[in-house]
Symmetry: C2
Subunit: 124 residues, 2 copies
DNA sequence: TTCGAATTTGAGTATGTGTTCATATGTACG
DNA sequence: CGTACATATGAACACATACTCAAATTCGAA
């Protein structure tokens, strides 16, 4: 009886193989908040329609109607997506009368896309 | 009556402002399939735990148990995530006995992460 | 071959996400 | 002012996703 319990404890104590790797991984891990923001950035770029928007804005600024017709969804849908992209500082806009012209916020976005394309084009 | 219908038609014919921008956007758009794969790649990197895994593997290879303890989830959860990363060629593994050691597949991944970090660190 | 350990797989589930519709804002112009 | 148009917002819904648990698989060694 006692032996059985002891074995239970011993078996469950540590299932991982290389404790020192786990420790150094924890030491060098990104700060919690930075990791969250980084993930949010990639996730924002990880939707086909948002990616289409970003790719289009890389060439020239466009308004909501244009983008809606371009990707074939409601203007409302585009507006929702643009809000996300704005909150992450991926795009910004300028107002001309009632029309909002959206553009890429900096060149990091397009750099990320081009780098990712390289990755894709190397594998089959 | 006729006038009303005509106005309806005219109003609904084209709601977009700059048809020529829409057209050039369509001309220069990424091929459908490439856009999908690109989005899938970013989406894969857009999850906090997957990002933790990638960041950890950037330093050194680790096995499933290690990663599970590192990020504090089930080994099963890690295995599910690693499968996604494998299918997108972000990670690969080598077997040593019963243990699978995972590593980053190429240096594009870490380059993407570092580039994205730059973007984050420039904005507030 | 049989056992134990590392990993994978599948089912189930709770939570997120992207879209549309209806409605509200805000801007220019008569 | 009030009308028209571009955009934004909120609710609702269908669908995806990330986790855990239980069971299957795979490998090395007794």
């Amino acid at each position: 009886m006692k032996g059985y319990l002891q074995n239970q404890v011993e078996r469950c104590e540590c299932r991982c193989i290389h404790q020192e790797r786990v420790d150094t991984a924890k030491d060098h891990a990104l700060p919690e908040k930075e990791n969250e923001r980084l993930a949010a950035l990639f996730k924002a770029m990880g939707d086909p329609n948002r990616l289409r928007i970003l790719w289009a804005l890389y060439r020239e600024e466009m308004c909501v109607c244009d983008l809606a017709q371009f990707i074939g969804v409601t203007e409302s849908a585009v507006s929702h997506q643009l809000r996300q992209l704005r909150q992450l500082f991926l795009v910004s806009n300028r107002r001309k009368g009632p029309i909002l012209y959206y553009r890429l916020n900096d060149n990091h976005v397009s750099a990320l896309i081009h780098l990712a394309l390289e990755h894709l084009r190397e594998d089959p």
